[in-house]
Amino acid sequence: MMTKRALLAALFLVSLSGLMLHYRIHSFMVPVAGQPGAFTFDGTRFLSFIFPLVDLVLVTVLFTSRRTAVYAYLLNGIIVIYGTVFMAHFSIAEIYAKSIPPQAWLIKSTMPDIALAWCDFFVGKALYDVHMKG
């Protein structure tokens, strides 16, 4: 029970951090150039808001019960795979757009962010395993 609570707390904090970081780094309401105070909606950035939000709310709630843990595990995996593909694509697009030199590709990439997403997945996996065994 204590392990479950600790893992659930870790999962909640990791997903909350993911949501807050995404929102801070690139909010889905983008300022319009040349129009102070005006904002426009960016669909791609909204995806980076809605997926962590689902991860934070739905996955955490589903992981609280043994009966729904399998759906949480599945949804968590889907979100992490989407995040991995999106962030890797984002990095590659940024390398092209900003002509980043090859020696800076790794350090300027979103590889640490992808690794954090996989931390979220493995915490979820540990929680699922505890639910199934305990």
Partner: protein
């Protein structure tokens, strides 16, 4: 030993499942929900790939 069915045919000779039945059985090995979920997820992935656009 010969095994007779109710229709009188020898099992394995005349009651062999058709290729369509084999295909349907293979498809229905997983529940319909499994297929619906996968089709939805593949569709969602393609849709997201279509709408995603990175601006720098």
């Amino acid at each position: 030993m010969v095994d007779y069915t109710s229709s009188g045919n020898i099992r394995g000779v005349y009651d062999r499942p058709s290729s369509l039945e084999i295909a349907v059985r293979h498809f229905m090995r997983y529940k319909p929900g499994w297929w619906i979920l996968h089709v939805i997820m593949i569709g969602l992935t393609l849709y997201i790939g279509h709408i995603a656009e990175f601006r720098f």
